[in-house]
């Protein structure tokens, strides 16, 4: 077993990427993810990799497009406003089916907003902030160890499905330190026969492209993408549940908020409230299954987010009207205390689940 080391979330992403075989990083500084950019600046030369500070987020995502198209593992990272700038590029990457990892360590918005933690880019990440019908695989870790594991997994998923994978965290996750272990991975770099890395004896040129001028062809391409997305939904949906079996109220939260929710839940349990927690680990594909299941047993759901209410829509879609779904959110970088969430639990149970 590897030794545990104490690491910041942001830096753990970087080291995990290196463990996953990522040797190309293109990024642009922005709080609260800058430590990751800086970590790559330090580490990439040490492992024979490429660190490049791009002139902008737009350039960085297009460098990723170029690198990914040649078949290498590649990553970029930013925070909310910078991720907005990448939306065209992400749509291109999805359209051209290139594997890459994009990290968003979210802060409060909208606009320049603030630099404290936020979760208000959920819609952007999961529904497609860029144009067209495409999906990112969105992973939402809630501890530094899970950051490590999911970062490695992100590269594998990206390669497997030829799809951008977004690691969605918030400023708190990026900044916090916890012990982590880097288990040796059995990652076998997949062979990418489609990569345009120079013909090198191949007889047919490879082309990386998202243009399909004939609507018939573009529709075919979209159908192909939708089939791929369906396969991802089928195979890659992940979540964690705690105390759900007997719960009257099920909390729903991801990332840092899920830990606050867990603390609140434990407090509630200790006072005999039957509270459980579903923590989506993949935000897209969203884990609808457990909601369908527990909508039969729980009396209500309570989504907790650092936003004005985004994931809660997916919860509502999953619960599909069978039970009430309540929402509690803080914005602007404010982080609710476990106590505040506990109070919401009590309140919701009274209002909705109590009958």
């Amino acid at each position: 077993m590897a030794e545990k080391i104490l690491m910041k979330g942001n830096e753990a992403i970087g080291e995990a990427a290196i463990v996953a075989g990522c040797r190309r990083y293109f990024g642009y500084p922005i709080t609260p993810q800058t430590e990751l950019t800086e970590y790559m600046a330090k580490r990439m030369p040490q492992v024979g990799g490429v660190f490049l500070q791009a002139e902008s987020e737009v350039a960085a995502i297009n460098m990723v497009y170029g690198a990914a198209g040649t078949g290498v593992r590649v990553m970029t990272s930013s925070s909310s406003p910078g991720i907005s700038l990448k939306q065209e590029g992400i749509s291109y990457i999805a359209g051209a089916e290139l594997p890459c990892v994009i990290v968003n360590i979210m802060r409060g918005g909208p606009g320049l907003g603030g630099i404290q933690p936020g979760q208000a880019d959920y819609f952007q990440a999961t529904k497609g902030g860029g144009h067209g019908d495409y999906r990112n695989i969105v992973l939402a870790p809630n501890s530094v160890q899970e950051i490590v594991d999911m970062t490695i997994q992100a590269f594998d998923l990206a390669d497997q499905y030829r799809n951008p994978v977004m690691l969605l965290g918030d400023g708190a996750l990026g900044q916090m330190m916890e012990p982590v272990e880097f288990k040796a991975t059995d990652t076998v770099p997949s062979i990418k026969a489609w990569a345009a890395n120079g013909m090198r004896g191949r007889t047919q040129p490879n082309i990386i492209n998202s243009l399909h001028l004939q609507p018939e062809k573009l529709e075919q391409h979209n159908i192909h993408l939708q089939q791929k997305y369906a396969a991802i939904q089928k195979n890659e949906t992940r979540w964690e549940e705690l105390y759900t079996e007997d719960a009257d109220l099920i909390l729903v939260a991801y990332g840092i908020t899920s830990r606050i929710a867990r603390s609140a839940m434990e407090k509630a349990r200790s006072e005999s409230y039957k509270v459980g927690l579903i923590r989506p680990q993949t935000l897209w594909p969203f884990p609808a299954a457990p909601f369908a299941k527990y909508a039969k047993t729980a009396k209500a759901f309570l989504a907790v987010e650092l936003s004005a209410g985004q994931m809660v829509e997916d919860v509502r879609l999953a619960v599909n009207g069978v039970r009430p779904v309540a929402f509690y959110g803080r914005t602007g970088g404010m982080i609710p205390s476990p106590k505040a969430v506990y109070e919401q639990i009590v309140k919701t149970l009274k209002e909705r689940g109590g009958n």
Partner: protein, 178 residues
């Protein structure tokens, strides 16, 4: 047991570092640990603080809002965090810089002249280690050997610093014992 500690002071007083050392030490004792800074606009020049949790259980929220212990290296930090400390909790005050004490009677308060002790030890930079020594002695969160081991790991390239830091921790702890 779960220790939830806030450490706060001016930027430059080394509160982030002692927070990390404590976290590291907890990890060496195979406990669950987390450290999180408050970062932000006040970073530049203003006050800095971090949350440390050392626990036998998996850690929920890493941001401490009801600390079991507080280290206050300067007055604004004491003003800000004193009211949040849990009844029965511990407050370590750097009495070299903070003249007042605590009005609450439901907490244990220790006044440590950290800067003066550091000066005595011949290195003004170890004031933070002095309060760390006091903190672990007062709370038993980790033992001092673990902190020393953590220090040795984190500053593997600077082994000469080890001794003075160990002494600072001892001196800090001695304020609790007596």
């Amino acid at each position: 047991m779960t220790s939830e500690i806030i450490m706060a002071g001016f930027g430059g007083q080394g509160v982030m570092l002692i927070g990390q050392l404590l976290t590291y030490a907890g990890m060496l004792e195979n406990k669950q640990v987390s450290w999180i800074p408050s970062y932000g606009p006040e970073m530049r020049g203003g006050t800095a603080n971090c949350s440390v949790i050392v626990s036998d259980e998996p850690i929920g929220a890493p941001i401490v809002t009801e600390p079991t212990a507080l280290v206050a290296m300067n007055l604004p930090s004491l003003d800000k965090f004193e009211p949040m400390v849990q009844p029965g909790g511990v407050i370590i005050i750097n009495s070299s810089l903070i003249e007042r004490t605590v009005a609450r009677s439901d907490v244990k308060v220790y006044q440590i002249p950290a800067n003066d002790v550091a000066a005595e030890l011949g290195n003004s930079k170890v004031a933070n280690m002095v309060v760390l020594g006091a903190l672990i002695a007062a709370t038993g969160t980790v033992n001092s050997q673990s902190v020393n081991k953590a220090f040795a790991k984190m500053f593997a390239q600077k082994p000469d610093l080890l001794e003075i830091n160990e002494r600072a921790i001892e001196r800090g702890a001695s304020y609790i014992k007596c």
